[in-house]
Symmetry: D2
Subunit: 390 residues, 4 copies
C-alpha cells in the first residue's frame, strides 16, 4: 500500500485537528434522535455566527458544487441574464451551470492571476439594466486569489441584482458579512479555512433569495438539488428531506465551535499573516508569485509560478514521496503553470509554513534548481514578527 | 444538553462498530493524493465484491436519495413508461421522481404490509409491451418488508425492461446478484446492514444501463445528479468530478472490508436469524407483526403494530429517555401505526436483540399495557438455538 | 486472530464508554507542559470530589496492587500488629504484603461468601490493645461481596488504629467518605465502577497516614513504591517523581468528570439497582447466588454458584465464543466454584443486564442445563421498575 | 484552560502518530479474554524482534524507572560491587538504587557532555576483580549523548560481569543486540524513539540475569518490583501477576508493529540523519552543541547550550506559548544550562525538524538574541540531502 503523507498542506480538503477527528468520531445517532436534532440546530446556529449573519443558513449534504448547482437551478428562470465574474477556473466553470439552467451569461473576465475590478462591474450593470443575477467566486482557490466581494456585492445590491457568492475557501480567511456586503446567497464549505471534513456545504440565504426561489414559475422542489426543500422541512418543521450525513455534521459542529472559540477576526488575521509570510518566503527563494499583486493574493493558499525546468510532477511528487508533504498543483487550465502552498485551517500556523517552505527549497535543490537553502525560510520567519497566537 | 441514548437500534442510520469509528477517523487526505486514489479504487473493488457483481460500481457522494434521483434523471426520456412497484412508502415516493423526469407511471400497488407478486409483474409487462423501465424497492424499511426482487428482476429481464432496484437496506441482509437477478441499477447505502456512515450511495450499473444513459437524447452530464460524470471521470480517467467525502469513504471502505471478512452469506444468515428470533419474541409478547407473512418480513428491521392504547410517542419516548434505546417509529403515511425494532449491522446480534426486546416489554408494562415480562425474550432466546457466530 | 467479544462484562477491567475512549486518545503532552500540569491538577481535584474527601489524593502510576503494596511498605515498621480482615481472596492475599514488610498479622476471617462482622472487629481490637493497623477490602470483587466498611472504619478510628481500605471496585458503587468512615488510606482504581482504564490507582490519604509514613524509622522514599515521593514532588512542588502515564490520566480525568456529571449518589444508586435486578434474575433462573445474604452482595458484580454439571470453561467459553459476551469466572481459590456477572461502569445499565442474563440462560440451555428461557430476564425486568436514568 | 501546544517535540514522552492513537483506543478487553492473551503474546514477540533478541522479554506495567528499580532490587545482594558508569543525570541517579538495595558503587564518571571510555571500563574491571554488575545508560536523554554500549557490554561480558543497560531512549535510535553486545538486562520504553505511550517498560533478560535473580539469597517475588513474578506467571503459565494496563499494551503493540514495518535499521538511520541535520542547523545558528563531540551526540534529542542572556524560561516559554512548540529544557543538575530539541518517533522527520529549528531562530530573535533568520534552517536542509523516506 502507498505510504500516507506526513502532512496534507493542499488547497483543500485539509488536515483536521486531533480534536476535530475525535469529535467527528462520536457514535452515529438516528437523525430523529432528540440529541441529534439539538446538535443539528446548534450546528445551524453556529454556522450563522461564523457567517456573521441573521439570514437563514441551510446545510446541504454534498460538497459545495451541489450548493452551487442547487442555487443556480433554484434561482434562474430560462432567459435570465446573469453577470458572471471570471478570474479563475471556478468562476469560468460556473457559466456551465448558468447555461444548463437556461440563463444568459454576461461575462466580465480577467486573466487568472488578476481580480475583478468593481468599477467595471458597476459599469456593466449600468449598461445592462436587465441583469438579474451576479455570480462571483470570493476566493479562487485554483488561482490563489481573492476578489473584492464587499465592493462588488454592494454595487450589485444597489442595482437590485441577486448576488451569489462562492466563498468556499473564503469563509474563515476573511471576515464576511452577507448583509453588509449585499450577498444574497453565500456558499461555504467546512473543508477549507475551517479545517473540517469535505462533504457538506453551508448556504446563507437572504429573504430576497428565498423570495426569488419561491416566485420562480416552477420552484425547484422534491429534488436533491432543492434548497426550498430544506426550508419546507428543516427550517419550518425540523424534519429532514432525507438522511443527513451524521458524522460530517459532527465534524462541522466541531470546527464551527473551534472557530468561534478562536474568534473569526483572529482566525482571519491568522490566515492573512501566514499567507503574507508565505509570499515573502516564496519571493526570497527567487520564485514568482502567481497573483498579479499583493492585495489580491488569497489568505488560504499561495500560488507560485513553476520555475523553468521544473515540472509539476517532479516538484510535487518528490515533495510528497520523499519529504511526506502533499501540496496542490495547478488545476484545470492552470495545470502545469503553478503549484500551490496550502495554509488553511490548522496549517495556517508558523510550524507548517516554515516546514513547507523549507522542504520546497530542499526539493527544488534536489531537482537541480539553483536555490540558496534557508533563504526563503528566513524571509518568512522575518515576516512572522507580528505573529500572535490564538 | 440532551443525553445521548446508550444504543441506537433504529431503522438506519445505525451504530457503527468501534473499528469502523476508528477507521473513519483516519486523517483526511487530499483527494488526489496517491494513497487516497488507491483507497478509493479499493473501495470500489470491495463494493463490487459485496454486490457480487462484475458491473461497474459508482459511488455517489450523497445519501441514497441522490442516487435514486440521479438514476431516474439519467435513464428516463420524457414519455417513457415505468412500471413502479409499490409496497410501501419508499416505493410510492419513487413515483415523484418518475413524474419529475417526465416518465409515465404504471403502478402495481399492494397494501403496505404485503409484497409484490411476481406473477402480476409478468402479466403487467405482457399487457404493456411498451414499458421500458421497472422500479422496485428490495427492502421497504418503513414497512419492514422485502419484495421478491430475484423473481421480479428475472421477469423484467426477459421482457427487455431496464430494472432499477433500491436495495439500500437490502444489501448485506440478503445475498444479491445484479447479473443473475436481472438488475440494471442496484442502489445501496453504507448506513444499513453494512453498519457504515450515512452520506454515500453505491450504484451497480449494467452495460445496458450505461447504454441507456448514453443514448438518451440529452444525456445527464455536468451535474451533481449525473452518473455519467463518474464514468467520464473516475472510471475512465481516475479523476473526480468534485471533491469526494473523504472521511465517509474511509468509513465505507472499513465496513466493506469487515463484511467480506465475515462473508456475505454469513452476514445475510446472521440478519435472517436475528430477524426471525425478533419476530418470535414479538409474537410471544402478544403483539402483532406488521408484515402480512413470515416470508416477506425484512431481515434488517421488524415492524410491529402499535398495540391499542399505546402511542408511538409514549413507547419510543420512554424506551429512549428512560432505558437509553432509540428505535424507529412508523414513517410517512405509516406514522403512528407501527414501531420498528432495528437489527442491522452490529445490532444484528443476540445481545442487542435480547436487550431491545426485554426493554420493550419493560416499557410497555410501564405504560400500563398488560404484558408478562420475559415471555417475548424467552421466545426469542428459544429461536436463537441455531445462532452461529461470525 | 481470535475474534474480539462484542461486549466485555467482566469483573474489571470493564468497557469504556465511547466518550472515554475519545478523551483518552487526546494527543500525548510532555508531562511538564503547562496544559498537562493543569490537567493533572484537575484530575487530582476531581478525584477528591469523587472520593468526597478533603484529604490529599495521590495518583500512583500502576494498577491498585502497586498502591496496596506501597501503602503497606510505607506504613509498617517490622513488628507492627495489623488486623487483617479476610472475607475473600483479595483480603487473604493482603497478608502476603504484611508478611513481606515485617508486620504481624491478626486475622479475622469468614467464609468467602460472607462479610466481616463489625462487632468482632471491636472485640478483637479491645483484646489486642497493640494493634496499630487495620486492613480491609471494601468490595471483594472475586467474592462479589462487600464489607461494612463504614462501621468497621468508625470502630478502628475509635481505637486509634490506622485503617487501610481497598475500595478498588467499591468507589462509585457506594458513596464513600474517608473522613466520616474513619479511613486513613482508601485505594481505588479507574477500571471498575468508574468505567476507566486499568493502570492507575488513586489514594486518599489522611493526615494521620502521612504522619505515620513520615515518622517511620526509615521512611520509604526514592522508590516506585513510595507514596511520600509524591508528597515531596507533586503535592509540594508540582513536580513528578517520574514520567506519568499521560494517556491513562486522560482516561481517568474523563471518567471522573462523567461521574461528577452524573452525581456520585445517582451513580451508586444505579449500580445498586442493577445489581439487585441481576440477583432477582439469577434466582429466577433457579441458580444460587454466591453471597450468603442480600445485604452483603456487591453493587459492581454478582457471583453465581456454578450449577452442577456445568463447568466454568463450558459456560464462559460458550457465552464468549458463541454469543460474544466475556464475563469473569471464579478467581484464585474460588476458581471453578462460581461465575460472575459484571455490571459496573457503563454496564450498570438495563440493556447490558438484560442481554447478559438472557444469553446466560441461552448458554445454560445449550449446555443441557434445564432452564426456562426468559424466566430470569422476566424477574430482572420486574425488578427494574424503579429504574431512573442518569 | 491553557491552550495545548500544536506540537510536542520534547525529550519524551513524544507525540504519537494518528495510527497509534487510533490503535490505542481499541475497546478495553478483560485481561484474560483470549483475544487479549493473544495480543499480549504478540506484543512480547514483537518486542523481541525490535530488541533483536532471543532472550525473554518482560513487559512491566510502569514507566522505565520501575524496571530500573526492579532490576536493581532483583539482581543485587547487599555487598555486591556495581560498576556504575556516569555520563549524565540518569547515570548518577542510578547510584541511589544501588545504595538502596545494598550494593557498593564503583563509579566511573565523566563530565555530563562526554561519554564513557570503554578502555577505562576495562581497566577498572581489571583492577576490581570482584565487580559483579555493571550499569550504564545507553542514551542519556538529559545530556543528549550516547555511550558506546556495544564496546562496554563486550568488555563487561568478557569479565563475567552482569550488565544492566538503560536504553529507554536508545532503542529504535540505534540498532541494538543484547546477545552480541553482552547485555544481560536491557530496559526500554515505548515513549521515546518508538513513538508510543509512557507507562510501560520492556526488559530483555539474559539467562544469566534470570539465574542471578533466582539464586539471590531471598529472590524478589510477590511484589510490584518483582521481575521473577512475570517469569512465574506470564512466561510459564500465561497468567498475569496483576491487571495489565490494557490500553497502553494496545499502544505498544501498535508502535512495535509500525517499527518493524519500517525496519529497525531504517528507523535508526532516520533518527541518525535527522539528528545530524539538527546539529548542523544549531551550529549554523551560532549556538553551541552540548555534546563534546559529534560521535557521542544522541540520535533522539539534541542538546544545545543556552546562549548568554537567554533564559530557559524565556526561550521555551515563548516557543511554546507563542509558536505552539513544546521542547524540553535541562533536567536535574543541568537545568538552565541547555535546552533540547526533540526528534524521536514521528518527530524524526524533516518537516518537524525544519519547523522546530526555524521557530527557535524566530524565538531567539524575538528575545533580542542576534541571529540571522534562516541560516540554521538552511544548514539543516543542506544536511538533509541524504534523506531517504521510510
Amino acid at each position: 500500500m502507498t505510504r500516507w503523507p506526513e502532512w496534507t498542506l493542499a488547497g483543500g480538503p485539509v488536515q483536521m485537528s486531533a480534536q476535530t477527528l475525535r469529535d467527528q468520531s462520536r457514535p452515529v445517532l438516528y437523525h430523529y434522535d432528540p440529541a441529534f436534532l439539538e446538535l443539528y440546530e446548534r450546528t445551524c446556529d453556529l454556522s450563522k455566527q461564523v457567517f456573521r449573519t441573521d439570514y437563514d443558513v441551510v446545510l446541504m449534504h454534498g460538497e459545495a458544487i451541489l450548493a452551487l448547482e442547487a442555487a443556480t437551478a433554484s434561482l434562474l428562470t430560462p432567459g435570465d441574464k446573469v453577470l458572471n465574474l471570471v478570474s479563475g477556473v471556478f468562476g469560468k466553470w460556473f457559466e456551465l451551470f448558468i447555461d444548463k439552467y437556461g440563463g444568459e451569461t454576461v461575462e466580465i473576465a480577467v486573466p487568472y492571476n488578476e481580480a475583478i475590478d468593481p468599477d467595471i462591474v458597476r459599469k456593466t450593470l449600468e449598461e445592462h439594466g436587465d441583469i438579474k443575477f451576479l455570480s462571483v467566486v470570493h476566493s479562487e482557490t485554483p488561482s490563489a486569489t481573492i476578489n473584492p466581494v464587499e465592493a462588488i456585492g454592494k454595487i450589485a445590491h444597489e442595482h437590485g441584482v441577486v448576488t451569489l457568492v462562492d466563498t468556499v475557501s473564503g469563509l474563515g480567511g476573511e471576515v464576511l458579512s452577507p448583509e453588509d456586503w449585499g450577498i444574497d446567497i453565500a456558499i461555504a464549505g467546512p473543508q477549507k479555512c475551517l479545517g473540517g471534513p469535505p462533504g457538506l456545504s453551508m448556504l446563507a440565504i437572504s429573504p430576497k433569495a428565498w423570495d426569488t426561489m419561491e416566485k420562480k414559475p416552477s420552484p425547484v422542489r422534491g429534488s436533491f438539488l432543492s434548497i426550498l426543500d430544506w426550508k419546507d422541512t428543516w427550517i419550518e418543521k425540523k424534519k429532514f428531506p432525507y438522511t443527513p450525513s451524521v458524522s460530517l455534521i459532527y465534524g462541522l459542529e466541531s470546527v464551527l465551535r473551534q472557530a468561534l472559540e478562536e474568534g473569526i477576526e483572529r482566525m482571519a488575521a491568522r490566515h492573512a499573516l501566514i499567507a503574507q509570510a508565505c509570499r515573502r518566503g516564496v519571493e526570497a527563494m527567487g520564485l514568482r508569485l502567481w497573483a498579479a499583486s499583493e492585495s489580491i493574493a488569497a489568505p488560504c493558499v499561495t500560488g507560485v509560478v513553476l520555475p523553468e525546468g521544473v515540472t509539476d510532477g517532479d516538484l510535487r511528487g518528490r515533495l510528497r514521496d520523499h519529504y511526506g508533504i502533499m501540496i496542490s498543483g495547478g488545476y484545470g487550465e492552470l495545470e502545469g503553470q503553478l503549484f500551490r502552498l496550502g495554509h488553511m485551517g490548522i496549517a495556517a500556523h508558523p510550524g507548517y509554513l516554515i516546514a513547507q517552505l523549507g522542504l520546497v527549497e530542499r526539493t527544488l535543490s534536489d531537482l537541480g534548481h539553483p536555490i540558496e537553502l534557508g533563504r526563503g525560510v528566513g524571509a518568512a520567519l522575518s515576516a512572522l514578527s507580528d505573529w500572535e497566537p490564538a
